[in-house]
Amino acid sequence: MNRFLSTLCALLITTITAQVSAQEQEFETVMTPAFSPITWERLVNSKEEPHNWLMYSGSLDAQRHSSLDEVNINNVADLELKWAYQIPEIDRAETVPLVVDGIMFITEAPSNVVAVDARTGRQYWRYDHELPEDLRICCGRNNRGVAILGETLFMSTLDAHLVAIDARTGNLLWDVEVAKHDSGYSKTAAPLIVKDLVVTGMAGGEFGVRGFIDAYHPDTGELAWRTYTIPGEGEFGNDTWSGDSWKTGGSATWITGAYDADLNLIYWGTGNPGPDWNGDVRLGDNLYSDSALALNGDTGEIEWYFQFTPHDIHDWDAIQVPILADLNIDGQDQRVMMWANRNAFFYSINAADGKFLKGSPFATQTWAQGLDANGAPVRVPGMEPTYEGIMVSPPITGGTNWYSPGYSPDTELFYVTAFDGEQIFFKRDEDYEEGERYTGGGGRYDQPMDAFKSWIRAIDPTTTETVWEFPIMPRSSAGITTTSGGLLFSGTADGYFFALNAETGQELWNISLGRRVHAAPITYQVDGDQYVTIASGNVVYTFGLDE
């Protein structure tokens, strides 16, 4: 009997093995499951897996450059639509999706995220974040993206929470309150993973908040450290705020920063001092508003700062993505942080110590005669907002704003969406009330928007000179991505997605998508095919070549 069973088992095993090998012969396709966990090492070395887009700016140095070159200057005109994903909530999409081994994670207004097949745009799962009714948000219901570590996504929400979501199912793992939303705090930016921590900023600079940058433990949501962007009593810089104004001075941190593993420094921008347009109640330089901060990657301590606009009274947040690269400036090889600021000046700064290297305007400006040897602005007198109004350039939205710039190591050029405009600035007297807007004025345009122009400008960061420029219609809020195919991708305010030659600025391809682009492009690969993705209006479009 036993022998009989053994023989039967052996026969069965032989039969099954024979069937498998027959299947293998019949089907040459080998399938592998989508998605694999993301380690810190993979994030540090993200450029070694260009088929994925693993963080908001593509890599920790935030260059937004991909080494993919299947789509290139010779065939980009052949790009065709592969799929479109319609966001159900009608709002504007500022999302920069992530792609991890064939899965795309798209955030949606107000604070939702959906996982789709990156080849087809069809859904795996979605997470809808429940929001309270009494939100305090200044400028729309935005969310710009998620961060990933392990098998967990981390997302900022409009009610100033940070949530952790299972990347395989969309299940909520934890949800922590970062700050009180009814006091004026909110969160819109993608977090940044630094080693084993989730680093994240906040918004609320128009509500008299006190800004900070936080780091959370990814497993528990427990706060690891908090660094305030306005020094407390007794701390260095607190005396740059008159009276108690530091308590309500804004300096929010609403865009994602960068990280350098060799220097172990986190680079993060800070927003306007509050109230935005009335500086009378906050005399002094107002540290660390409108600054680049370099924070210790383990402790969050401020190692150095560079304040672009001391005592800002025009709402020119230093909320831009810092870009890091190795450059030779003035005969010295050095790690450089490049920054095109809302105040219309471009800066090259030593990333190790914050020393100013070079700077000059990249967009029309009337407020400063130039920069001094330390990079501080030499102001034109009489450009402060008044009760009657005064014309100043750049306007409130700046020479550029939060939308991502790019840098290509192939061309060694820095690319920015620039706006040449002007606006009348007004000052008003307001008292702080918790949870109420606290801006002290505002602005209005004196001409139709069509009278102005936006540009893609390519800047040589070693000289800060503009090498080429490409005109687009005004007040674009699209980011820029470059590739080793020699391409620059971006979008426009009038609903185009387009590609330029990154070396020359020559137009190569465009397609009208019909609605404003508020987002930055990404590029990725699935099964060897390169794709390019952009959000326009309420739709996420993905393009590729004919297979």
Partner: protein, 270 residues
């Protein structure tokens, strides 16, 4: 131009003293919100608007294409009376960036905002003009030859804005400026573009549409042309009006008549 009665807020005709007594008492969208529309209320509403609303809607309430906030100085899409405006301000517009105001904000203050928004528009009934609209119509059709360029109710030319409802959105003094100094404020739609196309032909026309990569014009013979910018030899933009100035071409009283006619052009019952 002489305006017999200067432009008055609707609120000045209401019972201002009573509104002061009622400030602080509870009210709702259903009751007489228009009590809160004295000059004082409008100014209070403007103050609140500048602080709480201008970030999206603009300091001049003319909207913002970047935030998607609509222009509040023209026709409103979500409300057509004060109660409607009150409800939008109080409740917000669900699933959009238009959030409700603070739930603790007293209704009286919401009404002040409503009064400010109302004040951005014109109450034509409060305006009395010197001119005679019937005489203005005759000028429009004959001496002025306006109809060769402008349409009114489907009749007229295509070389200027349709004026069928111009009285709803334009103040008499602005109408006068548009007639006597047409270059002062030319909407981008009425700029002229001179384009030399891929066929080597230079065509001039009104700027129907222009974007980052393409442009569309209508020439003086009403032909519609579309160009790709990367395919044209040259493009020149002229931001002046094609309309002649009527300053000196008509007497002062004739200009008043013409303004009176144009100001009368509104949708019936508006």
């Amino acid at each position: 131009m002489h305006l017999k009665a200067s432009i008055l807020w609707k609120g000045l005709f209401s019972i201002g003293a009573l509104s002061l007594i009622l400030v602080g008492l509870p009210s709702s969208a259903e009751d007489a919100g228009t009590l809160y529309n004295t000059t004082y209320d409008v100014l209070q509403g403007e103050r609140y608007f500048e602080r709480q609303c201008s970030r999206c809607h603009g300091f001049d309430a003319k909207g913002n294409d970047e935030t998607g906030a609509p222009d509040l100085t023209g026709r409103l899409s979500r409300a057509n009376n004060p109660v409607g405006i009150f409800n939008v301000v109080r409740n917000g517009v669900p699933n959009t960036a238009m959030l409700p105001v603070d739930a603790d904000l007293p209704d009286a203050q919401v009404w002040q905002v409503v009064s400010y928004i109302e004040s951005l528009r014109y109450d034509p009934a409060s305006v009395e003009l010197d001119g005679n609209p019937d005489a203005g119509l005759a000028l429009f059709l004959n001496n002025g030859d306006c109809a060769s360029c402008h349409m009114v109710n489907g009749q007229g030319g295509r070389l200027g804005p349709d004026l069928s409802r111009v009285g709803e959105s334009t103040r008499p003094e602005d109408l006068m400026t548009a007639i006597t100094n047409p270059h002062e404020d030319v909407a981008p739609r009425w700029w002229t573009l001179e384009i030399t196309g891929p066929d080597g032909v230079t065509r001039s026309g009104f700027r129907m549409g222009e974007d980052s990569f393409s442009v569309r014009i209508m020439d003086n013979d009403s032909n519609l042309w579309s160009y790709q910018k990367n395919n044209i030899a040259s493009i020149e933009r002229i931001e002046r009006s094609t309309m002649p100035s009527y300053d000196g071409a008509m007497s002062e009283s004739e200009l008043d008549d013409l303004v009176a006619y144009l100001f009368s052009l509104r949708r019936e019952g508006n």
